[in-house]
Symmetry: C2
Subunit: 236 residues, 2 copies
DNA sequence: CTGTATAAACTGATGTATCAGTTTTGAAGA
DNA sequence: TCTTCAAAACTGATACATCAGTTTATACAG
């Protein structure tokens, strides 16, 4: 199916940063680049719009979504709701195997971040790899509950936040050395309320800071009143 | 925009029960009925698919979504996560006006349900009206936090559950007489943890019962292996 | 040089036609 | 009566053409 193929290409291009927020997306240009008609491209764009990665105004244009500060904050709230519950479910129902693997994953995440924070330990590739490890850690918690609906909701929220906030967090700042191990140990201890509380603190950590930085970078976008396009050069 | 119009028509038709789960949806037939081409209808269907109200297999057909037991359970889990957090936020930040209005709304919901449970108090219209009042009560809690992302997520989850479970809950069963007033009183008392706990109990109330009933009614659907169509009669 | 109006270029939205895959139908064979 | 299977009918997917609305470019007036 061509539409699914176009959707996947666009999604990965956006999430890998090759199409940063605000980039104009033309159905026709994309169709030509991908060697297909404008219809499947339009379908792909429609789907990405439903996921929140893209926004379009009728007959004006489509672009990679530029989130507002409220939306970033809203997704943090949403993520707090979802991951807090995810942690609770983990504490209630995780098996010994789940627990052991979570501790291992937490150690890996901490090691990656600590290594990244060291002098001359930073590189964009390592940063990207570390972020993937980090996401895998959180998704492991979610998957332990065996509820795909919850897992998917968490992943959607994380994807959006990552994409929107990535530009605002270009500079890496270290976190507590045992940040994820401490969290994992509380989760595996089997007390739902404490697990939920620990996850809440984890999600809220530096949240306001990130939002403030995002707000500072978002002052220029004066809303979606106008949909910018590229220069026009064809036939004249 | 024709697509939006078609989308709205289809959505309301599904949610009002005129197109029960499993009903085949043909782009062409719908296009003819609505006086438009198949393209905007297809776009509308694609959007409803993203919302989970509709499902389609390529070149086989489209139908109103038939949920699996796992999906119903998953949406209950999701709703628990979202509404629990919503209650917590309400307890943390609701104003006195919010609190007063919530108590009023709770009284109205209880009154409606109690009246419905009385001998000869039941009618489908009253039932529908009561359910709307009930949903409005929960959405009022969510809206008090002022986070549209959360509110929308809750509404989506509630819409899906309502549509899927409605057929399984045709017979109305009474609930505790002060069920919503008790919840509201805890929420307005301003203790986040207690508010969350109360909402958790509220969402879980009779959840297993409803799921069991849904499972009993869902035995016949042997998965989406085949996409059924209506009879064929044109030209022969 | 600056502001403004007008035309060109571009955009998404929609209609029509066609393709390839799936389901239904119904007749032929057991 | 029951099973088999091929053609008909129907489905969603896609291409192409066109329409109406928006943005950009440019000529022109100040």
């Amino acid at each position: 199916m061509l539409a699914a193929q176009a959707c996947e290409k666009l999604r990965s291009a956006i999430l890998e940063g090759r199409l940063p927020p605000g980039t104009p997306l033309s159905r026709r240009r994309l169709a030509e680049e991908m060697g297909m008609s404008a219809v499947p491209v339009g379908e792909a764009i429609r789907r990405l719009e439903g996921e929140g990665l893209v926004e379009s105004r009728p007959r004006a244009g489509t672009r990679v979504r530029i989130a507002t500060v409220d939306e970033v904050h809203g997704n943090y709230v949403l993520r707090e709701a979802l991951e807090t519950h995810s942690a609770r479910l983990f504490a209630e129902s995780a098996t010994a195997v789940d627990a052991a693997r979570l501790l291992t994953a937490a150690a890996k995440v901490d090691a990656s971040y600590n290594s990244l924070a060291m002098r001359r330990g930073y590189s964009p590739e390592r940063r990207a790899r570390t972020e993937r490890t980090h996401i895998a850690f959180h998704m492991r918690i979610a998957k332990a509950a065996g509820v795909p609906v919850l897992t998917n909701a968490i992943e959607r929220s994380r994807v959006l936040l990552f994409n929107w906030v990535f530009s605002a967090s270009s500079e890496f700042e270290p976190m507590p050395e045992r940040w994820h191990r401490d969290l994992a140990e509380i989760l595996v201890s089997g007390h739902p309320d404490e697990a939920a509380r620990a996850m809440r603190a984890h999600v809220q950590y530096r949240q306001e800071e990130v939002i403030a930085r995002f707000r500072a970078l978002a002052v220029e976008s004066s809303g979606p009143g106008r949909m910018t396009r590229g220069p026009q050069r064809n036939s004249r």
